[in-house]
Amino acid sequence: MDKVTKTELDNVVVRFSGDSGDGMQLTGTLFSQLSAILGNEISTFPDFPSEIRAPQGTVGGVSGFQVHLGSSKIYTPGDDPDVLVVMNPAALKVNSTGIKKGGVIIFDADTFNKSGYEKAGFKTENPFEELGISETVQLIPAALSTLTQSSLADFGFENKIVLRSKNMFALGLICWLFNRPIDQAIHFLQTKFGKKPTILEANVKVLTDGFNYGNNLHLTVSTYFVERSHETPKGKYTSISGNKATAWGLIAAAQKSGLQLYLGSYPITPATDIMHELTARKDMGVKVVQAEDEIAGITSAIGASFAGCLAATNTSGPGLALKSEAIGLAVMAELPLVVIDVMRSGPSTGMPTKTEQTDLLQALYGRNGESPAVVMAAGTPDDCFHFAFMASKIALEHMTPVILLTDAFIGNGTSLWKLPTLAELPEIKPNIVKAGTEDYKVSDRDEVTKVRYWSFPGMEGFGHRNGGLEKDYNTGSISTDPINHEKMVNVREEKINNISKSLPDLKIEGDETADLLVIGWGGTHGHLMSAVNSLTKQNKKVAIAHFNYINPLPKNTVEVIQRYKKVVVCELNSGQFATFLRSKVPGVEFLQYNKVQGQPFTAHELEEHFISLLK
């Protein structure tokens, strides 16, 4: 057997791409999990088409899954892949702009034929030449369909069923390429198909054959090895998606506060997985109502909040638009409510499966009247847990709706998550009226924090009438008194502003002494950190401030930003956070770096831009 060379890499990006029915999500998930178990840092991102099943072999039906493995801190699923696995020519076509020089492409040779090229829209019968990459990448052809068929020849399955296992052959091959023992993959398959022994046996057989096929390839392909990470803090880890982490953050907050968790929800891409996760958690006592529409999702949650629950609703941009009147009611009634917006590309239906940060101004201002609400944003898949927990804590302790912005990128993407225990999470003390309080009124509030005291049906002695009409500051009765109204407007505003006192200070990372400050918020955290860290390694001075709390802002925001000579706000919209900061931070010229393509930043493009600003 030829000796294949083994290259050690600090980090590597692998993308699996095929028809939406080819099982690329499963293949990618299994490969990333087994890499994580072997000690790598991981970050993954699935990329689905909007169509559930577009015509086979066409560009519209290509579904992808990307994973970034590393032996040091990994912030993002990576820019362009080092290794690309394509199940058909359409998948090659879709990924044609992002193939690295010297990268590897593994392709299913059985689908690379005339009909495949035509369906994918190639004009010639040599797609690699047509794309101009035949000389710059290493090609590993494997007749995945034929090989899988011969692997399962003895099983007597229908051909259609046999071909479903094609992805396992690819996984076996990838395990070989990365010097991964396949035992762990077999273990995963046992968990997944344990109840169907024949299917399990078939998948294990194909996986093993794929691995051995690689071993027997007498090719001069170098295999890769990514050493385990030693930078990751010690502890128990799992890999978690942002949407699942969000759901679990709410569950943790309900347990910590001792309240019933209620979710009112209406299905919408890419937010629905939060509902799926919560409705499956009846063991944790979660009550989920799949409502008749977005409005009922939030209004039923407001009803549940009125009745004493930790209440939440989840949605995406168009749904947030439908919920705006109800958010105003929660502002006016001063009820705790968590509104999660997993942002996607807009306006209108836009590009539902694609990521964007274009709902910020809607979250801040999209309501009638002077209607302040808390707005915050999670930065990575795993910190969706922390911020969903904190959104609940702030809502319950400050009697206000809190809008938590995540996005399709971090909602669907996964990252490593250090498993928490309930005990180590901060306390949550809902502002419930103290027993024995006499002559309680709906308008009673803490004179310092301005937070209204909460009482709910079932509590004797605290019956009250709440609603969307303006209330008298002292009696809580409805009032149209002009001076009182202005006072109430100010009190509601002050209550929100007061929250900044309990927020962590804005932190500067990178080189604090730099002239250039990079500002980001929410789900761009990973790409911005990658770019800044890479520049730091090149001895280029760049500082970064990443925001998770937007309204109110951390209390040191103005002071920190004013320290820098050059400030650039990077976001996946046309400049919404920059606009907001201009209204809050005087005397600073905010430069902008914007991208509105339904795609995350790449670390590379950010790096290039920052270098241009340093000149």
Binding site: I37, G39, R228, S229, T232, P233, K234, G235, K236, Y237, T238, S239, W248, I251, A252, Q260, Y262, R281, K282, D283, M284, G285, K287, V289, A291, E292, D293, I295, A296, T299, S300, A301, I302, G303, A304, F306, A307, G308, C309, A311, A326, L329, A333, L416, L419, T421, F456, P457, G458, E460, G461, F462, G463, R465, N466, G467, G468, L469, S477, I478
Partner: protein, 341 residues
Amino acid sequence: METVESTKIQYTAKDFKSDQYVRWCPGCGDYAVLSSLQKVMADLGIAPHETAVISGIGCSSRLPYYTSSYGFHTIHGRGGAIATGVKVANPRLTVWQITGDGDCLAIGGNHFIHSVRRNVDLNVLLFNNQIYGLTKGQYSPTTKKGFVTKSSPFGTVERPFRPAELTIGARGTFFGRLLDVDLKNAQTTMLAAAKHKGTSVVECLVNCVIFNDGAHGWLAEKEFRSDRTIFLEHNKPMIFGKENNKGLVLDGFNLKVVTIGENGVTEKDILIHDAACEDTTLHMKLSLMEGPEMPVALGIIRDVADETYDEAVEAQILEVQAKSKVKTFDDLIATCEQWEM
């Protein structure tokens, strides 16, 4: 499950009155319904703090301010969804939803049919005056075709909803109807609605003295009321009239009014009302009766037992919890595929 029965207190209507000044137009039918409701709340014997009154927007939706229970005056049309959240959050509460023909059947139509379909245990008082009052006189989804209003100066060209049809069409388990001024029967109907488990829809025929005075005048007039309405109760014969000698019988697939003692008709020929019958055919026929040939049906038209949504939600949670090993957040964390790093 806790019950409030253990400390049963005798309440009076006064216990359910708030300190707020009631601000409806003098002569508005809503006063009568409010006072009937407070009497019924007292008769139910459920404490004010175990009662929640939820409303949307409109004249009738001001009602929660006037009861001493927990009340929530919300946004236009959403009362049904908000009340659903309240009841699912805490099924031990008695929840009343106060709504009008615009709030419930126009802007809130979707929430209305879905809360009825789910059979959430709500008592819905649908104040139907066939007009928008608070916005000063536009036609509503129940305004009679051709009626002249501020938004239909040449008469409406729209076909109105009939709330009973909509309720039964949405698989409602309870439909009742009351007339604002007919206090005793109104209270009987409301009490039955409150005792019914599931969504009870009570169409309250109320008069708007300002914008639609006399909308229900034909049947409300005291002199003719007993001839023009029939009060339906479960298991009782469908007899009505000033002389108590008129009744309903089946004539083929239709209902027909007959007079006892004429043409050999005896009391035995008169239909007995079965409100608990699952089949909706006769309930629909009864609820859609109109004058002048037929009396308008009041009282308890449909009252069918079925599982409620809020109970089903809790029951499923208990069922899953009984089987699951995951009891706490830390148990949940333990279910993760996990590894040491």
